[in-house]
């Protein structure tokens, strides 16, 4: 009997690639909250969030063998799959139901936490604070494009149109913001 809780993410993904459904259920147990939370934050509707969460884990089930354990962290890969699926859904919905107002993303810390344990809330709060500190080191105009892109699902050209800025300016801001955020998080030792 395999003790899936004792296995790390790499091992679980390896087992999933070998068509181990229990491994997938164990991985779901670990990532259901961040994935569903991101979906809820971006989609705002539980039905859509549940639909996309199901789609995300089904995609992990089918594409587990494409994960290269030597070149990436499971968390980054899983959240990237999740974000990509959510963006696809947002764009398919034509962003009629999501909040694309950058002002809203500046109040992330005000979003409510619902239905989670105190311990998880504390851990989540620590991560959130770390990320928020990193974001605060980025100039506001650069942080704005990151928020619009990641949480709003806007492409660079859509951001340029929304912010009345040249596309090149948006691209430059995206690049600079990502470079700085990456550098800050690496120096913080959490990545």
């Amino acid at each position: 009997m395999v003790d899936y809780e004792s296995l790390d993410d790499h091992q679980l993904i390896q087992l999933i690639s070998q068509v181990d459904k229990d491994a997938l259920e164990a991985l779901y147990t670990r990532y259901q909250t961040p994935v569903y939370s991101l979906a809820m934050f971006m989609l705002k509707k539980p039905a859509l969030a549940e639909e996309v969460t199901q789609d995300i884990f089904l995609n992990i089930w089918l594409k587990a063998s494409s994960f290269n354990a030597e070149r990436g962290q499971p968390r980054g890969w899983i959240m990237s799959v999740a974000h990509h699926k959510i963006i696809d859904l947002i764009r398919s919905q034509r962003r009629t139901t999501v909040n694309t107002d950058p002002v809203d993303y500046e109040t992330l810390d005000l979003l409510p936490d619902g239905g989670v344990s105190t311990e998880a809330q504390v851990e989540q709060s620590l991560d959130r604070e770390r990320i928020m500190r990193a974001l605060e080191t980025i100039p506001a105009n650069q942080r704005e494009v990151i928020m619009l892109a990641y949480f709003g699902g806007l492409s660079q050209s859509e951001m340029a149109e929304k912010l009345y800025l040249p596309l090149g300016t948006i691209k430059t801001r995206v690049r600079l913001a990502m470079l700085k955020l990456r550098t800050v998080l690496e120096n913080d030792g959490y990545e």
Partner: protein, 321 residues
């Protein structure tokens, strides 16, 4: 496939240049659809850009932690596991086998082969027809040569038989010649003895041109008779040589002159010639010892040689012309 140098963006025109300015936006899912597809294709072949994107994806994943925690409904787990159960197993571990054509199939399917194959087949047929025609003609030539060979072989056999017969005849002639040579050698030997005795043989009448000489060795047991001016005898018996003693006569040999009337014979005497009175040559008569000699052609009296005399040979320069 790995491309490890981002500075070589344009070195290969067929290769999608390293999209170094788009990797951050790709990790952020902020590219347009076509741009995202282009970068994704590049990442499939470029490990260096893939590593950069993976790092940015890790950074972006951190952003998810900033959102408020929302627990999914418990039913979602069941729904997901039911959806997975209905889904076909991941096909990642084993790719479908591709029907790869064999080397020979690929060669046969190539355009030049498809064009050249009928031409080659036609050429092969023409070559076969030419070969058959040539074979028939060569067979006919072989038959003709066989016939000629048979004729030549028959002619050769005939000539061989003729030559064999000629060789046989020549051998017989050689034997005769050798006999004559031996006789001449013996006569020459007898003539060369310095103590020989000689007896002149004369015809009974002066009208006959025949003459001869009878040489006898010193003990009278052997002798040589030589004749000249003889009539070529019609029979193979030639002339007979007799020794006469009173009414007795003893046949001692035979001499056959040639077509010019010359003849020589070497004789072995049964007893010493000194015991006889005469030597006579008769023509073809070998009658009994008491029969009269009616056909005598040459004769010589042995009385004249009772006093043996030496046969002397004059020096070459002193011989009369």
């Amino acid at each position: 496939m790995a491309t490890n140098n981002l500075n070589n963006e344009s070195s290969n025109p067929n290769h999608f240049a390293h999209p170094v300015n788009m990797l951050e936006a790709f990790a952020l899912d902020a590219l347009e659809l076509d741009e995202g597809l282009g970068v994704s294709s590049h990442l499939d072949e470029c490990d260096l850009c893939s590593d950069i994107v993976i790092q940015y994806q890790g950074t972006v994943a951190e952003l998810a932690a900033t959102v408020g925690v929302q627990e999914p409904p418990a039913t979602l787990r069941t729904m997901i596991m039911q959806a997975i159960a209905l889904e076909d197993p991941p096909a990642s571990t084993a790719s479908e086998p591709k029907l790869v054509p064999s080397v020979s199939d690929r060669i046969m399917d190539s355009l030049p082969i498809r064009i050249l194959a009928p031409l080659a087949a036609s050429a092969a047929i023409v070559l076969v027809l030419v070969a058959v025609t040539m074979n028939v003609r060569i067979s006919n030539q072989v038959d003709i040569l066989k016939k000629e060979n048979s004729n030549l072989q028959a002619s050769l056999d005939s000539n061989g038989a003729t030559i064999t017969a000629q060789i046989g005849a020549s051998a017989v002639a050689d034997t005769d010649v050798m006999d004559r040579v031996l006789k001449l050698q013996q006569a020459s030997y007898e003539l060369a003895q310095p103590d020989n005795m000689s007896l002149e043989l004369l015809p009974p009448s002066d009208e006959s041109p025949s003459q001869g000489i009878f040489l006898v060795n010193h003990d009278g047991n052997r002798g040589v008779v030589m004749v000249a001016g003889m009539e070529p005898h019609s029979t193979s018996t030639g002339y007979h040589v007799w020794l006469m003693r009173g009414q007795d006569k003893v046949w001692i040999g035979q001499i056959i002159p040639d077509e010019r009337g010359w003849g020589t014979a070497s004789l072995s005497l049964p007893e010493s010639i000194m015991d006889f009175d005469k030597v006579e040559l008769t023509e073809g008569n070998t009658g009994g010892a008491t029969a009269p000699l009616t056909d005598m052609v040459l004769q010589g009296s042995l009385v004249s040689i009772n006093d043996p005399r030496l046969v002397t040979y004059a020096p070459m320069g002193l011989l009369p012309p």
